[in-house]
């Protein structure tokens, strides 16, 4: 079957290997070009006043303070709603109902929700929170919308962390007469905490960069004050960046690049913390 000209086959094999390598490197190269492009455009306008100024009609005086604070508010509120819900749901799916018909329906539903475009969640937030519940274009509407968006991701990540707890631990506790809730609270959750935290942080870092749902629920892009309560209007890093990118003046494009650097630094530090937790959990879970 594989007989034939040996030399030619070796050459085509070599060529194919190079082709595969080139394809892989293209992805890496694009990432590098993107980062270099953003740094070159944005570093000159990145300064302390950029971090402490409010947005302005003039690019040189524009700052990102309200967007940065808005994003921090938004992500904290989102975490407040999404983390308990996601973890509890993961515990239920993993430790209680493992093979029931209802849990299979929920599982199927979760994997479908994870594939729903984020802008659809924005429409849900607009119809449900902004209009129907009358929360307006507030931080609360934004955070609830984001929470619904990340809950499926948190559930998927947390279940993986729970699954990594060795069976023997559960069985040892059950053998000593512990009830299911005692096993979960005293054995499984403490052991799964590092892995769970990794999953939670990675899910939340997705919410930090999400733009489309916030635009859909009508978050504002020009805000010259800081929110004081969850019912206040707000702006966030990605929407502020979008606003600057979509203006025609080149001055605002540079400011947008500076905003992107701030956003990427926030994301990078979140991911760094997540990776640190993951390494810790790997070390602890070696039996």
């Amino acid at each position: 079957m594989y007989a034939g000209n040996g030399a030619r086959r070796r050459v085509s094999g070599r060529l194919f290997q190079w082709l595969c390598l080139a394809a892989t490197c293209t992805g890496v190269a694009v990432l590098a070009v993107l980062l270099i492009d953003v740094l070159m455009d944005g570093l000159p306008t990145l300064s302390w006043t950029f971090l402490t100024n409010f947005p302005s009609r003039f690019p040189a005086q524009s700052g990102i303070l309200s967007a940065l604070v808005g994003s921090l508010w938004l992500i904290s509120l989102t975490a407040l709603f999404a983390v308990p819900t996601g973890v509890a749901a993961a515990v239920w799916l993993e430790e209680y109902e493992r093979k029931g018909r209802l849990s299979r329906l929920i599982e199927l539903n979760i994997s479908n929700l994870a594939g729903v475009p984020s802008i659809i969640y924005g429409l849900l937030g607009l119809g449900l929170f902004v209009r129907w519940m009358g929360l307006g274009r507030s931080l609360m509407s934004g955070a609830l919308t984001m929470a619904l968006l990340v809950v499926p991701v948190i559930i998927i990540n947390c279940r993986e962390a729970l699954r990594a707890v060795p069976r023997s631990q559960r069985e040892a506790a059950y053998a000593l007469g512990a009830t299911r809730s005692q096993v979960i609270w005293h054995i499984i959750l403490p052991m799964a905490i590092p892995g769970t935290l990794t999953g939670i942080i990675l899910s939340l870092s997705r919410a930090i960069g999400e733009t489309a749902p916030l635009i859909t629920i009508g978050a504002l892009t020009f805000i010259a004050f800081l929110p004081n309560s969850p019912m206040d209007a707000f702006t966030a890093l990605p929407i502020q960046i979008f606003n600057w990118v979509s203006r025609p003046q080149a001055g605002f494009h540079a400011v947008a690049a500076s905003g992107i650097i701030v956003l990427l630094v926030v994301l990078l530090s979140m991911n760094g913390v997540a990776i640190w937790f993951r390494d810790r959990s790997r070390r602890r879970l070696q039996w």
């Binding site: 079957m1 594989y2 094999g13 194919f16 290997q17 595969c20 080139a22 892989t24 293209t26 992805g27 890496v28 694009v30 953003v38 455009d41 308990p84 819900t85 996601g86 973890v87 509890a88 749901a89 239920w92 209680y96 929920i106 539903n109 479908n112 929700l113 594939g115 475009p117 984020s118 802008i119 659809i120 429409l123 849900l124 119809g127 619904l148 809950v151 499926p152 060795p166 023997s168 631990q169 069985e171 040892a172 506790a173 000593l176 512990a178 809730s181 005692q182 005293h186 870092s205 997705r206 960069g209 733009t211 635009i215 960046i241 979008f242 990118v245 947008a256 992107i260 994301l267 991911n271």
Partner: protein, 322 residues
Amino acid sequence: MAGISTSSVQAAAAAAQVGAAPNRSLQTPRARGLRERLIEAPLFAAAFVTILTTAGIVAVLLVETLSFFRVVPLRMFLTDTQWTPLFSDKHYGIIVLLSATMLTSVGAMFVALPLGLLAAIFLSEYASPRVHRVIKPVLEILAGIPTVVYGYFALLFVTPALQRMIPQTAVFNGLSASIVMGFMILPLVSSMSEDAMAAVPRSLREGGYSLGATRFEVATRIVVPSALSGIVAAFILAISRAVGETMIVAIAAGQSPTLALSPLVPIETMTAYIVQVSLGDTPHGSLEYQTIFAVGSTLFLMTLLLNIISQRVLRRFREEYQ
């Protein structure tokens, strides 16, 4: 039992502590059962939130879409060749937005599919474990970059580069958005395809080698065909991701609803239209407000269908090697 070893001492200690703490262990079995039920209820409620989310999405989309279709007949929505809800002469032909979405998605696939598949073959068949450990996370970063950043990159880096190569390229065009979107989706294609290739049993590869096949022949004639359903599932999911992608196309492809086949002119995808209307101050209950839900429903149905097909294909392939 070998499973219960030193590691279980910790568990035993914790369990003992549970027993020693308040007199729970003295409760009757029935009281314990009740307590367990009470604890399970909120956990179940949390899981049920996901069902409510889906129900909420369907309800919100359905209510607004139905009131939309009370004014605009479904036939007009499907057959009209103009999309002008924001002008005085109103037309509601979804085909205009749909064709733009198709154009950018297909364009993105031209980048993501070949590069993603080749990268997957490289990572699964050629890369040493060390190279693999470095390259894979770097590729994953591509998937983690916020889409608004890609939009910036498409509009202010890729488009000017394209204009230098093809002078008639407009400032807003589908091509630039497609290319950048393709790179955003590349990691999805490569990591799902690689997973599928990793599931191909070693014995199949070794059978190939024992017949004198080269690595290239094993990769292209044994591994890829054996992993085909997983790869196809990855492709379909990638299309779904491209159809639902918003910020890149909203920033770089423009907001001109025209029925164009050229990738060099401004167009408007379904998602970009939703963004455009959301940015304006649309009064609640107006037909204009309802159009974004009608477009959203179309988008939701398309991605749902693609996701379901992808899952079906994937489940089939899982059965094959177990």
